[in-house]
């Protein structure tokens, strides 16, 4: 298969970027999308040009590193999957593929297709954990957890922190990402103790980082490669209102 690729090139964070057009030929339909970019990069290097910088690591859909906006959709045309797991057979019949970085104020472009997602780390640092120290904890079976609660917590915990939810949202809101962590820990007895503090601190950090507000359009859910659902956002709202009304209201 042959394709025209329109790819965002930007030297560094300060430079102005633009689209450049490349062509690739004889691509196998069994090649992955990133392997197609590898092939292009090998050709560029041989010509003495700088290869296209893009983020990737595990190439099996779990590390959350890859982050490409392909033909107007985060992670490309398939659903429930990251771009590293999309194979070229999904592009059969297409001539042009447009490849951009995530676009969001909280994710500034660093170079080409690489953005700075450290804001996600700071959201977790604000309280997305159970403050258990190493050692001195009870036996793993001391506190029972109903299977359905553990399963729901796992559904939320499956988030890979890629940022597709932010990239797909017209408001660039991080609600799905934050709600997945809030929901996971609110569902488990171990996370209950700090639940009220956690939700307030994480919501406040979201505002500090410049993420937009959630207007319930649901684009995040539709594009999430791990199929994290809007139910988590509903849970976050419930937890947040509960925390504001509760006796533990606090200056966070």
């Amino acid at each position: 298969m042959d394709f025209n690729l329109k790819i965002w090139r930007q030297k560094d964070a300060k430079s102005k970027g633009s689209f450049k057009t490349y062509t690739v030929n004889n691509i196998s339909e069994d090649a992955s999308f990133l392997e197609m970019l590898d092939i292009l990069n090998e050709e560029l290097v041989i010509k003495g040009e700088m290869p296209i910088n893009f983020e990737n690591d595990c190439r099996e859909g779990i590390c959350g590193t890859c982050s490409l906006y392909v033909n107007g959709r985060p992670h490309g045309p398939d659903t429930g999957i990251t771009i590293c797991q999309v194979h070229m057979r999904k592009f059969k019949g297409m001539k042009t593929i447009v490849i951009e970085p995530w676009r969001s104020r909280a994710f500034p472009v660093l170079t080409d297709l690489i953005v700075d997602r450290s804001s996600f780390d700071r959201l977790i640092q604000a309280g997305g954990y159970v403050s258990a120290r190493t050692g001195g904890v009870p036996d793993a079976n001391a506190i029972l957890i109903p299977k359905n609660k553990a399963d729901e917590a796992m559904d939320a915990a499956a988030c890979i922190g890629c940022g597709a939810c932010v990239a797909s949202c017209k408001n660039a809101s991080a609600m799905l990402f934050v709600s997945a962590k809030v929901a996971q820990l609110a569902l488990l007895p171990q996370g209950q103790v700090e639940a009220k503090r956690r939700v307030q601190k994480m919501v406040r950090q979201m505002d500090i980082e410049g993420f937009g507000n959630c207007t319930n359009t649901g684009a995040c859910e539709a594009e999430c490669p791990k199929e994290i659902t809007l139910v988590n956002i509903a849970r976050l709202n419930r937890e947040f209102i509960g925390a504001k009304l509760g006796a533990q209201m606090m200056a966070v």
Binding site: A31, D57, E60, C63, T111, I114, R117, D121, V130, N141
Partner: protein, 647 residues
Amino acid sequence: MVKLDAKIPAGPLAEKWTKYKAGQKLVNPANKRKLEIIVIGTGLAGAAAAASFGELGFKVKVFGIHDSARRAHSIAAQGGINATKNYRNDGDSVYRLFYDTIKGGDYRSREANVYRLAEVSDEIIDQCVAQGVPFAREYSGYLDNRSFGGALVSRTFYARGQTGQQLLLGAYGALSKEIHNGSCQMLTMQEVLDIVIVDGRARGVVSRHSITGEIQRHSAHAVVLATGGYGNVFFLSTNAMNSNGSAVWRAYKSGAVFGNPSFTQIHPTCIPVHGDYQSKLTLMSESLRNDGRIWVPKKLEDAKKIQKGELKPTEIAEEDRDYYLERRYPAFGNLVPRDVASRAAKERCDAGHGVGSTGLAVYLDFADAIQRLGKNVITARYGNLFQIYEKIVDDNPYETPMMIYPAVHYTMGGLWVDYELQTTIPGLFAAGEANFSDHGANRLGASALMQGLSDGYFVIPYTMQSYLADQINVPFFKTDRPEFDASEKKVRAELEKLLSIKGSQTVDTFHKKLGHIMWDHVGMTRNREGLQKAITMIQDLKKEFWNDVKIPGGIDGKNMELEKAWRAADYLELGELMARDALDREESCGGHFREEHQTPEGEAMRHDDKYTHVSVWEYQGDDKEPALNKEPLNYEFIEVKTRNYKE
């Protein structure tokens, strides 16, 4: 020659770790604030160690190659983590996990280290549950377990097919807490290029920021390498694209010695290779062998037709299928250890019974399990793995059997460390896959996560204090010392040398060539002639690389070709050492199978009289052969036997 002192505490096996902790030196809380530790790597071992050091009150600097600590490759581990809880009442105990691990490693690991690993395994599960790791549970609310290879008990805890992800996010949470509290500082997108040694002790690193290209200097009282394994020397492996062996290799060239470099794990259940543009291999969790049955066609003509696409696996009658693991190993069946399962697959494919268009694949069939348990149960257990398989191969494993083939997965070899996880450079520690210590010649499934977290949460926070206790009067180091000047100068010179070659071939071209040499001659089976040939071929390839590699751009700014070239240059040297080690070890043990040393039935044949030792290699200079040291392995508490998974 270096002096190897494993520092194993005296006394009965079960009391060694307790005795060590009772007698070790500690650092008082006020002094901990005056001591800095650098941790390189943010996987299970690195993140757990960094968080634990921070909680204790040390000042910690954590280095990662990714944009976030959460991306480290521990995240991709699928199946589970072992512990001796015996929640199933099926006869598990600390001794049994210790025994299984030593036996699984084919009697080539250190008794005291392995016993300690089994001893702390229960604490790990407690810790992770406390962090909010959503392990699988039964309807009663109690934790669920599954079985893994090489064991007769069900001791593996899991979180669907994403156990590594959940454990890493637990450790990442703990690290995030310490970053928030100010005890840990996270430095992302940093490639560590050299270890700085001052007066014989590790005192810092020189690194390059992968976006800006800035070369940086960082000092500390001690340095921990938790950088994972070097499986990417084979180019194609289940490792992530950025996983690399460079920090470990730089430590080796600075004087740390290397244990058993040739001990590599080839994982039996991976998606087969499909084309020369392929960039990596995808693992299908070993947990699939709980319910999947492995087979190939009995008749050669059936295998030929399948390879040509003229016959479908579902059209082959039950009596014409060869469930070769169940046939050869009745006691363990499909749950034999990884090295045994991998070689058995290779043996069938080499004999012409392989399937798929290349003939280099075997079937992993769930038809029986779906009939017995129902599709819903299989989906609940393995749904995400089936989805990954379908997306990659474009075939539905609920209807046709999966095709799998062995692939490079894990390196048991690594930096030699003593009981305290310290290398032969004082102040330089190695944890997790980066060290050689616990898995001998073959690692059992669900033991890598256990070792990473054991080293990080429960071992190194103790042993590090022993080292730092006499360092409390050593003030913070400045990075304007001559040792840092020299290190930065050396690193810059090497980067510039790579850029100045301006040859005609890309880095990946060389890396792929190296991968083929390694897979063909230092892979699943090895022989003297092939290994000798491999050494010459790698030396020639190294010369060619340094004359003809083409790298665009400069040191400043993002330059991924330069990053890859740095790593490939190290792989070219590391690959040679692996071949040398495999050549020296004239026996078969675990994942190291020398064709000259096998039983008439094709099983591995050890030579305990000559090789019951760790092969410890010592760098002597770029153009000199490395020196071989030996750490004898004394089995005081376990009877050394031939591994038997048949009865």
